[in-house]
Symmetry: C2
Subunit: 346 residues, 2 copies
Amino acid sequence: MTSAASAASAARARPTLRDVAQLAGVSPKTVSRVVNGEPGVSPSKADAVERAIRQLEYRPNITASSLRRAGGRTAAIAAVLEDVSNPFSSALYRALEDVAHARDVMVFAGSVEEDPGRERALVRAFAMRQADAMLIVPASDNQAYLTREVAPGTPLVFVDRPPVGLHADAVLVDNESGAADAVRHLLAHGHRDIAFLGDLRTIATARHRFQGYKDALSDHGIRPSHIAHDLHTTSAAEAAFGRLLDTPSPPTACFSAQNLITIGAIRALRARGLQQRVAVVGFDDFPLADLLEPAVTVVSQDPYRMGRVAADLLFRRLDGEDWEPTTHLVETRLVPRGSGELPAPP
Amino acid sequence: MTSAASAASAARARPTLRDVAQLAGVSPKTVSRVVNGEPGVSPSKADAVERAIRQLEYRPNITASSLRRAGGRTAAIAAVLEDVSNPFSSALYRALEDVAHARDVMVFAGSVEEDPGRERALVRAFAMRQADAMLIVPASDNQAYLTREVAPGTPLVFVDRPPVGLHADAVLVDNESGAADAVRHLLAHGHRDIAFLGDLRTIATARHRFQGYKDALSDHGIRPSHIAHDLHTTSAAEAAFGRLLDTPSPPTACFSAQNLITIGAIRALRARGLQQRVAVVGFDDFPLADLLEPAVTVVSQDPYRMGRVAADLLFRRLDGEDWEPTTHLVETRLVPRGSGELPAPP
DNA sequence: CCAGTCTTTGACAACGATGTCAAGGAGTGT
DNA sequence: ACACTCCTTGACATCGTTGTCAAAGACTGG
């Protein structure tokens, strides 16, 4: 049983490359060559170096080597996410990690929570730590500041929301058409009074989904009503939809524009025993949506896939490929499960 | 519209502290003093330096400064988690991030997925990047190797599972008593044939929960039956529990020892229309457990709270406090919601 | 007006590693 | 035996920053 956790324990520092060199009786540069697998080291010296490395349990200091190394790559990239503990963000993260891991690159992550100041603070913190690339789910309304914060040439990719004031790769879904699909689905089941429950209007996707909702309705000559914006938590959505349901002429269906909001809407229906009478289609899938009763119809986006695509873009740029910044659209898919197929009352 | 995304764009490097010094007409050391808020700089020079910093958009390179700085703190800590995209892990992560953020410390994270080799690889990668501290959810059966990998004095805290071969802080729950609570709850509702669905037996918590299950049964003179071990995915759990249900004398209740397994068990019941007849208590809560029908009774552990406690331990050690490594137990709580209160058939 | 103190400042080396380059030895062809 | 090349090897400077220390100037008190 060894004790390594105590901060006061033997402060003997880790061995450095110089220590290895001394023990092996070679120059530091030769050790460096062995560590990095560079050619031109005689087998005998290489062997001595490797023995010394094992004996001293030497581990190279990557931050030091990246200081000197050409390009200064740190083999670490950063993810600026909405909220690490939200399933959408964590699937993104996981996809990024999977791609990064295959290349021995580590990932920093941080949660912005729709706070523009925090977005900038995180970007700055990651830039000061020399992240080689960044995946960003932006919360602020303009990302021009990135030019100042990150080193020129740092690959950037925006996910879920397009960059503003900056020309960069983006991986998005077509929120307008996805939302319109959802609303058309409800229209096809006879609904005319379709409520909209939306996230903060500072978020581009929330605005686009609202636009899709309005477009689908106006194509059928229907004027939108029953609208609640700026809901950002399950409980806010539950309260807001509850108020709409409690009016004299409540909606017969609801399009909710984000997964937490959908859950809030369902809670409001449950509290009133209306879950089998008022139809719901949500934007963005969530775990267990298929186990609720009725199972929840959603427009599903695939965050893991978005993360893969974004990660590929980052690493291709890191590999030196270059191209005009491009926006990649990932398909949405309407998944009928029950709640969206409830018919409108006659 | 500025273009910053192209890897081939103006490779003009970021300004360094020397550039600032030159522009401000002072020595590098003076710039360093201003940047770090050290005293003993005349207002006039400080002002010149600050102007130069703004003009050049200078950003300090933290990795370089931590190289020189005493103790070599990098203001980055690492989390070795089971799976970043699993709600338990991401709540842990979020708690760690919240505490770290308040101190301008960044967080690296990686997923182990019960692969001992990956655990070691991640630890090594984080150590080579000079993480100041590590939070670890171990997957391997022995962590003595950490002594070799991490710098002496690096604070370590283990979460969810105790360290083996190493004396270090740990934040755990009492899995045996939590599991026994769950089983006693089922016994109290008249059940005698209570199935056990468990995770990989390589995982300490899975073994402890099984022990709690056995103990509670044997206290009532009941011999355990209907046991399925080594289920690690929802689908494995669904299949295994399905097989138990399809026997001539199926269990009347089920204790499932992990959240994904619980979901698998519920799917198996749903597929057979038994969800209102066979009782279920799961270990570990999960989102929407209260919205299923019947709502799912669970033994809840609070991963966010576990993460807070663990993070506090790490930062207190980083602040120089010292104490004998301790194990902290976080309470579990039985949350009756319906599925665990279904009575046994006569 | 002088010794003594305090404040401000920069020169220099160092953190841990690698890029550059030249020196020295072994091997080649004639 | 000679000029030539190739291969190993290490000295040195350097990446961007900060710790150490000493010098120079500005003050203080007597």
